[in-house]
Subunit: 278 residues, 4 copies
């Protein structure tokens, strides 16, 4: 159990009446409890809170008239992850994957697991099944890609980065997800806050479904999984953009922060420790 | 209100222990009531029924040992669609799209609305908003593409068919969905049975979200929307394959049928009539 | 006949021994005669001049040690194009296309005419054959695309811009070439200088093979075809990059200019006038 | 030196006046001499022979009225390859690649070396330069891909097969070419006859430019390089299709054969032996 403080500040130049949808609030789940939370809009606005599915994900929607808009979010989170022994975590067989998990086996816009199925099988098909196989995929992705800010864009897919061998956290996540799905392991994209991310920003990582639970992995290795605070989950980044804009508004400033409450940095989980917060 | 009888028969050569997931059963909703239904597996198997979400979609999952497998499905459906006047159906503004509809604005594997946004706006952005705009998109897709069996495959996307200008019902649906999403109209893929489809087969068509409801469209024009029986809905065809195979099984025969109960063919709905069964 | 003065100045920061290949010198052909020409490298270098094929194209190759490199090119050109009456120019039938022109019917890296064949036929297959059909393709491309600097990059293809509907002169040229080839008209990419280009830069346009000659077209409409000075020709932009760098050198400045000798701007050729300088 | 007999028989159902261009005749070069050759068309036709560039490549063009067309080609070839010691063959530096070889460094339709440059450097950038590096690329391609007839089609590219990890000889060649170009080694596609190919067919392989000469490699390993008879060379398969059809003609039969004159099978060249016939 640990306490994490997260926050973000966004500024927009809104040039006409615009609908903005924000996915910046930490999810509230049994394993990730909101101790306190503040969301401020300046100017003040009528804010609609949308519950997105069963994973505690939320979005906030506002209709904004032309203005300089500032959004500030701050939250204190108690992280009480379920901890498993990675050596004992098996893959769920296709006969036992629950109905609501099935969609995370399907290919999605940025994770073309249908194209990469053979690739995934050739590279990872003969490894022992279980948590360690997902870890092997994440390790492989981490080795295979060069982390290069600016090398990719919003339409870059897992197949693209497999060819280009470069990307950012979003791309690392997409490729790892596509490879997991390609060998029959449900996997999904998680957006969130990450302690000690450098440079600080919203982060993208993944969850894989093993032994009936969703376990966290960060293929980019830019954060420790015990320092991740979930905002939202989706099939890929398309589902969890931190802001969706309908109208005309330009982001002019973005600050993001996350830290352990006492500014201590707990050690990274050892290789035995699997962490689930879903 | 009308009565439709639908059915399908599938045969597989199962060569090793295999998990099969079928999406062939008609959805059971207030507007599409199951009067009777029979699903037979030969040899007999323990069948798990999966409820897939809130739209009455179901899947059936079986674990099969090596055998010659035959699946027969038959159902009698009472279709009681909600009927709207197409001239009065408006688009839902982005401020009012419900949370559970939002994902159908996102790009998906076979509907790259992110890539086609400008295309959609240039072609359809200046048309009057509403049902008629979706109809215009479907008409355009129908004119633009050549219907050519065998011209595309399971990995073909909306962007592909926009370039190649040829496809089958699945591709027509994907392109229409991508263009709808591209101009901000939620749209999704529907698999189902279709009366008078020639040659008979499972069919793929679409729903667009207008004035708070999902309305049916068939961009392929191979069927009338008052003769469509929903099996499942998804972001695109990836979500509603009629069979998903994990193991080793080959489809050796497929028959599909659908007819109005009295074998009459009611006239196609006129241009004023919008039909919703979701 | 007209006199055009062209020039360019490039500066590089060369960080290690690097081989640079420049394609910035005007081609010297019967219809585009070099009256005078100066090419300076600072520091002075041993320059190898490469003759590239039969169209008067040249490249200059240097091996450069770490330095601040400056290249200045200036030339005075007498343009004596062959002028045809566009109404009388027919397409060459496939039985009569010369051997050295055949490759320009094949798809190339940025002009996927194999993918776009049906598209080309559906849009342009029923038009009267001849120069006017190429003009119709260029008009269509010009209408279809939005000119947006920065919207595309060095790997963007004709298929990409057909989907995205935006690009720069290079992309306009690629799409027009792909559509020409798609209906059986040989077409190629031309890099060059263009009078009155705004902002001034190297330009990309096309040639189509009609009645046994290569005729000039500018799908971007950013220049008049009687103000174009050819540097090189190729299957697409891949063949005529103004600089190819092997080593480590960064472009730090680029200036390009082109003007009629007396700074007059002759009127654009009328619709009857087809211009060939190859 | 060896004698090889090659041949092919093609039958077409020609349904309207059609121009056919065949690339089925063996090239005639100092290292691959035509001892005898016969090309028959039934019905008899006026045949135009096209010389395609400087490598001895030829094509034959005919205009055919509706008929059942049969083409028979037979040739006896004396192969007198230049033989090098692979251990001594270096790569040509970019400062010394001849002008006519430069285009084979550029990306082409089916060999996207611009996309795969980083991939190539990461996998092969640190290997010792020279013939052995090309051999390493061919070995890697051979290991990486599964040979699966029917898995790809005429528009499949090197990037596609790198993702899908399956293909036929054409795809093996395209991927090897793209990777060579990606690390600065000129490479091109060769179509030809291959002794002992099973099943017999036209074959696709590659040449890489080393120490001033083009050397043969077969990434598919379906043939020995001392049993290859060149028909044509090109940037990729787009340039050397065995038949190009303008009109309406369907291939109804294709037979291809190639054998050493005495039906002996000389041993494969050892790893020291590099073979050049260009």
């Amino acid at each position: 159990m640990s306490i994490i403080r997260v926050g973000s500040e966004l500024k927009y130049d809104v040039r006409q009446a615009t609908v903005l949808l924000f996915r910046i609030a930490a999810a509230n789940t049994p394993h990730q409890k909101l101790i306190s939370e503040q969301l401020h809009f300046n100017p003040q606005l009528q804010v609609e809170t949308l519950d997105l599915g069963s994973d505690g994900n939320r979005a906030h929607r506002v209709l904004v008239q032309p203005c300089k808009l500032q959004i500030t979010y701050e939250a204190t989170i108690e992280l009480a992850p379920e901890v498993g022994n990675s050596a004992n975590l098996n893959e769920s067989t296709s006969a036992h994957i629950p109905a609501d998990v099935l969609p995370y086996l399907n290919p999605s816009r940025y994770c073309e697991s249908d194209l990469l199925g053979r690739f995934a099988f050739e590279e990872f098909g003969s490894l022992a099944l279980g948590y360690r196989r997902v870890q092997a995929i994440c390790d492989w992705v981490n080795q295979f890609l060069d982390y290069t800010p600016g090398s990719t864009n919003a339409t870059t897919t897992a197949a693209d980065v497999l060819l280009m061998r470069t990307g950012v956290c979003r791309d690392y996540a997409h490729l790892a997800i596509a490879l997991c799905r390609g060998i029959g392991i449900p996997a999904r994209y998680v957006s969130g806050y990450a302690v000690n991310l450098d440079p600080p920003d919203f982060h993208g990582f993944i969850e894989a479904f093993l032994d009936g639970k969703w376990f966290l992995f960060d293929p980019s290795r830019l954060s420790q999984v015990n320092g991740l605070v979930r905002i939202g989950t989706g099939r890929d980044a398309a589902d969890v953009a931190f802001a969706t804009i309908n109208g005309n508004a330009a982001l002019t400033q973005k600050s993001v922060w996350a830290a352990h409450a006492d500014n201590s940095s707990p050690p990274a989980p050892d290789l035995q420790t699997a962490i689930s917060t879903a």
